[in-house]
């Protein structure tokens, strides 16, 4: 049987969980069990059912996140489950390896496609930081697959879902969370499917209104190049690249960014890259799918207007 970890983000199952569900239901010959820690919000279980999950186990009794207690609780509920799929989010990265040890399983992280099961169980995973892919045959009977978000197409497979509760006694946490600083209201950069990013070509922080407006019309997040964060035009949490955040959105729009190799290191796995730059020789155009050569200050208002029209 196949199981998934249904990461509970304040009661909500994010798209990466639905992807894990869809992955599991496409490889399982029958049932998929999801394990969730803490009570999901009203109607969330139905989202899982739409992608083939027919049983949800809600684990109660754990409070703050602790990788050790969480992975122990998940594994305690894995009776008869031999393949376990977990989204490769920060939480998934903390839990997946621990669960693999507890299941005595083969572990594959950074998995980007459905497995080939004709002869064994071969998964495709990203290696060499975006510069290659590897095929690995997982030889243990038990397997843990950590699926990179945004890698597979969601495929509906509606089933009816039953919900069970499992109460665990929280053993002493060896870790305590003493504070957290989460961007609220805004879409976190690492999860955004659309990212509008700008660089030194925007000339100064006072010009970011247009960048933010385009992001908000498209329902995306904003990002920036390193010098922009270094000059305090934008907060450091927005800086993408080799020394910043690595992202993999469906759409990355780069405005007034030259496309230095260190910048590309953080964004080159984006599905579609759009570059807007007044210099036709800007290296970013070589990595782009679509582009406009021209002045951002003339192009952005047109894009905002067209995006508004397209969204209506």
């Amino acid at each position: 049987m196949t199981g998934i970890y249904a990461e509970n983000s304040e009661g909500i199952f994010k798209k990466s969980v639905l992807e894990a569900a869809s992955y599991a239901s496409q490889i399982s010959k029958g049932s998929v069990t999801a394990i969730c820690i803490g009570q999901p919000s009203e109607g969330e279980a139905d989202k899982l059912a739409k992608y083939g999950v027919n049983k949800l186990i809600v684990v109660e009794g754990l409070h703050a996140f602790d990788a050790q207690n969480y992975s122990n609780a998940v594994t305690a509920n894995l009776t008869d489950i031999h393949t376990f799929v977990i989204a490769n989010t920060y939480e998934g990265k903390s839990l997946g390896p621990r669960i693999a040890v507890l299941m005595a399983a083969s572990l594959a992280t950074n998995v980007v496609d459905l497995p080939n099961t004709i002869d064994g169980f071969t998964v495709k995973r990203g290696v060499f930081s975006g510069k290659g892919f590897a095929y690995v045959n997982l030889s243990r009977e038990n397997k843990v697959i950590a699926l990179t978000p945004n890698s597979i197409e969601l495929k509906e497979n509606p089933v009816t879902i039953s919900i069970e509760k499992s109460v665990v006694n929280e053993s002493e946490n060896l870790t305590q969370i003493t504070g957290s600083n989460k961007a609220t209201g805004k879409i976190p950069l690492t999860e955004a499917e659309i990212v509008v990013s700008a660089g030194r070509g925007m000339k100064g922080p006072e010009n970011w209104g247009m960048v933010e407006e385009l992001a908000s019309v498209l329902g995306g997040a904003t990002a920036c190049s390193k010098p922009v964060a270094d000059m305090d035009w934008r907060p450091h949490g927005e800086h993408v690249g080799q020394t910043g955040i690595t992202i993999k959105p469906n759409l990355y729009i780069a405005i007034g960014i030259s496309g230095a190799i260190q910048h590309l290191a953080g964004v080159s796995s984006s599905k579609v890259i759009v570059v807007i730059n007044k210099d036709p020789e800007a290296p970013f155009f070589k990595a782009a799918d679509y582009g406009i050569v021209g002045d951002a200050f003339e192009i952005l208002p047109q894009l905002i207007a067209a995006a508004k029209a397209a969204k209506n």
């Binding site: 983000s9 990788a67 050790q68 920060y90 939480e91 990265k93 903390s94 839990l95 997946g96 390896p97 621990r98 693999a100 040890v101 507890l102 083969s106 572990l107 992280t109 950074n110 990203g126 290696v127 060499f128 930081s129 975006g130 510069k131 290659g132 892919f133 590897a134 095929y135 690995v136 045959n137 030889s139 243990r140 060896l174 870790t175 969370i177 003493t178 504070g179 957290s180 989460k182 961007a183 976190p188 690492t190 999860e191 499917e193 659309i194 020394t243 759409l251 759009v274 070589k286 799918d289 679509y290 582009g291 406009i292 047109q302 894009l303 207007a305 067209a306 995006a307 029209a309 397209a310």
Partner: protein
């Protein structure tokens, strides 16, 4: 500490795409491990103690391990085996950590070659220690370890009892580079080579490939930027 190809390496494969082509490749300390090594040195300079580098690799790793000693580690252990995958590596490391009586084990958040991001969590479970991933701050004070780490959409602060295993994320510290004195001292520091334990296989790499190269960029006229939105909606279908 893992030994990886230099970040500027052009990645190609040989033997009918079944092996990474190491011809002409410069090997370096995994950049995240430069951070964890530097931070380990800073912590022991403040609190006392020693820093041991442990690596799973064959003899060609020694030159890179010596560089780690030159940065300032006290000694090094090389487990003499091909690092076949993260799970094999973690089993080897867990074995020596159990024997060594360490208070803290720091890894990188991932090796930049095989991008596993596994070893920290695997060690946590194998040793039954807490494991804290992707730390942007690591400190030890009052007999406890204090961390700040990345979480989805933000950062959080965590305190843990010792022993603990944690992985280094960008921003942890400024990596130190070896100086002349360090390089001289490293020559005589102990680098103990030990035999691996036997571990049942977890998996086999069967083939590699490079990503499909991008097609040439499709350009739109700056006077007619709306066409770009049209293409994103109807052709690329991303908005």
């Amino acid at each position: 500490m893992s030994v990886v190809p230099d970040t500027t390496t052009k990645i190609t494969f040989t033997d009918n795409n079944t092996k990474f082509n190491t011809a002409g490749v410069q090997f370096i300390i995994n950049p995240y491990d430069e951070l964890s090594l530097t931070r380990a040195l800073e912590i022991t300079e403040k609190n006392g103690g020693t820093v041991t580098i442990a690596t799973v690799g064959l003899a060609e790793a020694d030159a890179v391990v010596r560089k780690g000693l030159a940065i300032g580690a006290t000694d090094a252990i090389r487990i003499n085996a091909e690092p076949v995958d993260g799970q094999f590596v973690a089993e080897q490391l867990a074995h020596i950590i159990k024997e060594g009586g360490y208070d803290m084990v720091l890894t990188g958040r991932e090796s930049i070659d095989y991008n596993g991001g596994q070893v920290c969590g695997l060690l946590g479970a194998l040793l039954n220690w807490p494991s804290i991933n992707v730390c942007t701050k690591i400190d030890v004070a009052d007999g406890k370890a204090h961390f700040e780490r990345d979480i989805d959409g933000g950062r959080e602060s965590i305190t843990a009892s010792l022993p603990v295993v944690a992985s280094a994320q960008k921003d942890l510290c400024e990596p130190r580079i070896p100086n002349m004195k360090g390089i001289m001292a490293a020559r005589t520091k102990p680098l103990n080579v030990i035999a691996p334990i036997s571990v049942d296989a977890f998996g086999q790499y069967s083939a590699f490939e490079n990503p499909v190269p991008k097609q040439a960029v499709k350009l739109f006229d700056a006077q007619n930027a709306a066409q770009l939105i049209e293409a994103l909606k109807n052709e690329a279908k991303v908005i």
